[in-house]
Point group: C2
Chain length 251, copies 2
DNA sequence: CACAGTATGTTAGAAATCTTACATACTGCT
DNA sequence: AGCAGTATGTAAGATTTCTAACATACTGTG
């Protein structure tokens, strides 16, 4: 039983450093047969998982549910990505950029070319996670207490930090945009950060899919006139044209 | 070319939501043959990667280098984990805890029981990443500019943030501990944060494997007397006993 | 419309991974 | 030492995944 424990520990250890390890590699590492490693893995489903012949740390639930086109359509993923593609045209190399939280701007981050040099400020964990992977980006993170609902950090000192920065552009997200009632989001703690970022930036763009137009959400953070442009999947909205949010919200 | 682009986009989209997707599933999702998906993936190595028949987002370099026992021994992984196990005895539920950066304390975080309620302050990305996954932990992150070398954030306002907190314990790491020259680390920007955390905490523990004893690294941050205990893989060092760091550094 | 070039599908065989069953080695206990 | 139970290794066959080659369909251009 003792040797087995040692192997399991060593495997956990190896997985802590690398994200995956091939069955064959693990067998070599532990000086046992592949079959033994298989058995070790099988006996500790709470520690290890499989992806083909690759051992990975125990997987979260994410892998389970099959990804369907329906679910994707429901969440407007395609529209969000399209909006991000449109917004990308407003991003210049070598600028200092604020990137807001939310799934829409996750797409935006993914779309930033690998060779574009930028300084990016963010306060969402999943945004930061992807920015870190990009070599040419200097990342500045606003700290604070973690809010799982939006995967963001928010706290006392974040606006101070922004004060010390010169921002060229701010890309904002919103879950509601109404001509009269302005841009709004779900979480109240996000609003002050959004506002501060908008204050500091030379240019301000709101990026969202058109399903958000006409909606109002609990936390107001800016009038529509505060943005240089509101960018949806079809490009910037004509700000001056009457009735751009006259249609019903298509949730 | 257009249909292909749409597929690539849809695949990226799916991967953004789920971490992996099976080749077969992707083929069904996109309504094309597996072979076509394979070709799509092969043509976009900067976007996609493979893990067996599973498509994953473009992998970082981590997967490449084979993990060897040598490297593991070199990095003292086992000792680090042992030290963390020892340190875990000093962690009480419902406390406010500071956790330092570094691989040693990554093990420490991994070892925190899933049901332990804590408030944790950290400033390293990989530490935060693991803490977020724990349901019963309230995470406070110190922000700032990202330093890839240590995966930490550091900046102007982080110490302010700590000022506003009451900390029960601080778990510190060091890459050098010398009885005369104190505790030191590689990165200068870490030192002020470590010091501030130590100032704020009621109890201070240094956690490191014994290979660090007797070493001196560039960035000094505290005398050994500043710690309530120095914990290595064999438990707390006898602080009063003479000569605990008289031996040669066994790198 | 004919053509060149590209895109996609299909298939067969090679290579890998997975499962199962059985043989052998080890451990702790009396 | 002898025994029961566990742990590990080996190997064959089933299954899945990978590769390469060829066939067919589609696209835009002159």
């Amino acid at each position: 039983m003792n040797a087995k424990d040692r192997r399991v520990t060593a495997l956990s250890l190896a997985l802590a450093e690398r994200r995956v390890i091939h069955l064959k590699e693990a067998a070599a590492l532990l000086n046992v047969s592949e079959m033994t490693v298989r058995r070790d893995v099988a006996e500790n489903p709470d520690l290890f998982g499989y992806l083909g012949a690759h051992i990975i740390p125990a997987r979260g639930p994410e892998i389970e549910a099959p990804y369907t086109v329906d679910r994707a359509a429901e969440s407007h993923s395609i529209a969000k990505r399209q909006a991000s593609i449109q917004a990308l045209r407003y991003l210049q190399p070598d600028e200092a950029v604020f990137i807001d939280c939310g799934t829409t701007l996750i797409h935006f981050v993914d779309l930033i070319p690998a060779d574009m040099r930028l300084t990016v400020v963010c306060y969402a964990f999943n945004t930061a996670e992807r920015l870190i992977a990009k070599q040419n980006i200097t990342l500045v993170m606003l700290g604070g207490v973690y809010h799982p609902a939006s995967a963001t950090f928010a706290g006392a000192r974040d606006t101070d930090m922004l004060n010390a920065m010169g921002l060229n552009v701010a890309f904002l997200s919103a879950s509601g945009v109404d001509r009269q009632r302005g841009a709004s989001c779900e979480q109240f703690h996000e609003a002050p950060i959004k506002r501060k970022a908008m204050d500091m930036a030379q240019r301000r763009y709101l990026v969202c899919d058109s399903s958000k137009i006409g909606r109002v959400r609990p936390a107001y953070f800016a009038d529509v006139s505060a943005f240089d442009a509101i960018i949806t999947e079809t490009g910037p909205l004509p700000m001056d044209a009457a009735g751009w949010n006259s249609g019903p919200a298509t949730e």
